[in-house]
């Protein structure tokens, strides 16, 4: 493994890694070690936290380098693909029009195009169950919003270039938004609280507002029933 760089803060190490496969292999391997209090994968990096009362940052950095250099058995599990229902109605996708403009297509074509793509979950992060998704296709450069929105609704589907995301809870956020899913992405009472997992294949199924309401209601009553 080619370790580009470990950036040392007093209780946190930020390590740049080449690509997503390396990140996922490294994260699984580091999870076998008890020294790390947090192991947080990014898209091209991983960060770990440790207790600086127990071990110095330099010692921790040496240990991390050593652990990452060990040959690792590739044991990143394969997970069932999932089709996530999305309503692309413009009330759920406030940025849909300008994104379509930027890509030189109509809103309808944008929806058809997006719901035909196949994505892979690259990581969970930002907030509980929030999923980052990547597709293979080259996409015109759509950047982050210059100033984050104060409020993005739960279930919102964001798009930045060849990445999409699903907001699991309402929050401030910087992704341009093209639609919304009624499905809940994080349920802490479950053994696996997050609906999606790293490496899972995800597609989007276009639904209308009526189906959106129906699914939202079903989920609500299911949660009340539990």
């Amino acid at each position: 493994m080619n370790i580009v760089d470990i950036h040392i803060c007093d209780d946190t190490l930020f390590c740049q890694l080449g690509d997503l496969d390396t990140v996922q292999a490294a994260s699984s391997a580091l999870r076998q070690q008890t020294i790390w209090r947090e192991i947080v994968p990014g898209l091209k990096s991983v960060a770990v936290q440790f207790d600086p009362a127990q071990i110095t940052p330099d010692e921790a950095s040496d240990l991390l380098r050593e652990q990452l250099l060990k040959p690792q058995a590739a044991a990143v599990p394969q997970i069932e693909p999932i089709a996530v229902p999305v309503c692309y109605d413009k009330i759920f996708g406030p940025d849909q029009e300008w994104i379509a403009d930027k890509m030189g297509m109509s809103s309808e074509a944008l929806v058809a195009w997006h719901s035909n793509l196949s994505f892979t979950v690259t990581m969970l992060g930002f907030m509980p169950g929030f999923a980052y998704l990547q597709c293979q296709e080259e996409i015109a450069k759509i950047g982050r919003l210059p100033k984050p929105r104060q409020q993005v609704e739960a279930g919102s589907i964001g798009i930045i270039g060849d990445q999409s995301c699903i907001y699991s809870f309402s929050s401030p956020g910087g992704w341009p938004i093209i639609g919304r899913t009624p499905v809940h992405l994080f349920r802490p009472e479950n053994n696996h609280p997050a609906l999606l997992s790293a490496n899972q294949v995800v597609s989007f199924r276009s639904i209308d507002k009526a189906e959106f309401e129906k699914i939202a209601e079903e989920q609500y009553s299911r949660e009340l029933g539990e």
Partner: protein, 315 residues
Amino acid sequence: MSLTVVKPGLQTTLQGSPFSSHRHLGMPAAGAADSLSLALANHLVGEVAGAIAIEITLDDAKFVAEKHSAMALTGAASFFRINGEDQPLHTQTHMKPGDEIHIGPADQGCRSYLAVAGKIGAQSLLGGQSTYLGAGLGGFHGRAVKAGDEIQWAGNSEPDPTATKTPIELRPNLSGKYIIRVTTGPEISALTLYSQNKLFEEKFQAGRRANRMGLNLHGIVLEMENDEEMQSAPVFPGTIQCPPDGEPFLLGPDAQTTGGYPRIAQVIKADRHLIGQLRPGSEIQFVKISSQRATEIYRQKLSLLTPWLGAVSLW
């Protein structure tokens, strides 16, 4: 019934130790924004440093007691009154049924901690009980308390009769001005050299957008070396990020787990409890130190606290 909320103030939540080892699922730390004030309050009522207590923000708050219990208040409150009579902060105090407990607004600083002798009932999840407001999880039904809510606690532990007052030298000195030590972040070089220097030379003011997730920093506008989009990467409480508009922001305990803006600095672990006392308008001077020095400072701080608090960690 143990304590009924009469006036909740701006934001009053149940907070203790942060959540840990679930950041890879996107679960933030949450927990007390000022871990030091929490530990000091809990110690006065015989609870462990990270036990759940009541975190009160900026505004005044009122409660009515429903039973006998020891309690203690630490942090930013300008006064602490029982039935209109002033009580000292940082002191083991007692409540009896019917007492009106009034916690004054913060003159300096931002948050106060009311600890009680007993285990406060709070929603348990993922190995923790603190409130994470962003997703409505933990604490008191995942939310800030409202007037009429009843905060309950089991048992009636006997606090240590020899630990009734926090030693003066351990009481945090709250003012409107903060020196916060940082190490440089992994993307410090996203800033121009000029702005890298300015980050540690100029004073910043905490902006009006300030909450448990983080706060905006006003002052000089930082210049970016280029406007390259960054790949989303892990961030933590204490991370300072800089978006393209050049106005950096500092992440608090409820911070998201990953972010897409350059991480220009990281507040050292020993100083992170200060973030919980920053309020809109607070003046902040960031001082750059090495990670080795940061570790020394953290260990020194713990060794000052240990004789009083016993084994303790800050977050």
